[in-house]
Amino acid sequence: QKEVEQDPGPLSVPEGAIVSLNCTYSNSAFQYFMWYRQYSRKGPELLMYTYSSGNKEDGRFTAQVDKSSKYISLFIRDSQPSDSATYLCAMSAINNNDMRFGAGTRLTVKP
């Protein structure tokens, strides 16, 4: 079983739709959960950062972590064409210095 699993998509939605992106993981030591956005040929850009379980909201973005199910989600409300990118989940354990990425989901928001 891969340590971090993420459906690579591609995912295509109309402008204004709610987007749901998900990852599952197997390592119960993971405590920090991140979502990154990556545009083509660019480095990952941190979108959301969550410690342990719970929800976090930032503008149109909401991150959810369910440690009991080892499942994390990112919701994008009122999606825009500029949200078109690859979204990477990532996670790390406390006192570990390596962060593990999911495969990334390629999202296209059509005008």
Partner: protein, 111 residues
């Protein structure tokens, strides 16, 4: 906003040659990382560096690779005897409290 700077943005090298990829992390960050992303594949952890020594490394990071912090600002990745399969985007990142900031990457092409 502070940035992680990587140079060069694109490096072409002949198979068997040595390359040095350079990074300037955010100045008050203490942890430094190299990640690799082969075209169309996931972002893979290579190595983390703290207090002037390697703290974690992946199975990818074998004797062909080395890292160095030659002065107070630069962080380098050296790849010896490059192979075709080393062609990838190489991302440097730095962090303080677990929030990673990535550079824009160096595209390495081995011909």
């Amino acid at each position: 906003e502070p940035e992680v700077t990587q140079t060069p943005s694109h490096q072409v090298t002949q198979m068997g040659q040595e390359v040095i990829l350079r990074c300037v992390p955010i100045s008050n960050h203490l942890y430094f990382y190299w990640y690799r992303q082969i075209l169309g594949q996931k972002v893979e952890f290579l190595v983390s560096f703290y207090n002037n020594e390697i703290s974690e490394k992946s199975e990818i990071f074998d004797d062909q690779f080395s890292v160095e912090r030659p002065d107070g600002s630069n962080f380098t990745l050296k790849i010896r005897s490059t192979k075709l399969e080393d062609s990838a985007m190489y991302f440097c990142a730095s962090s303080d409290t677990g929030r990673y900031t990535f550079g824009s990457g160096t595209r390495l092409t081995v011909v």
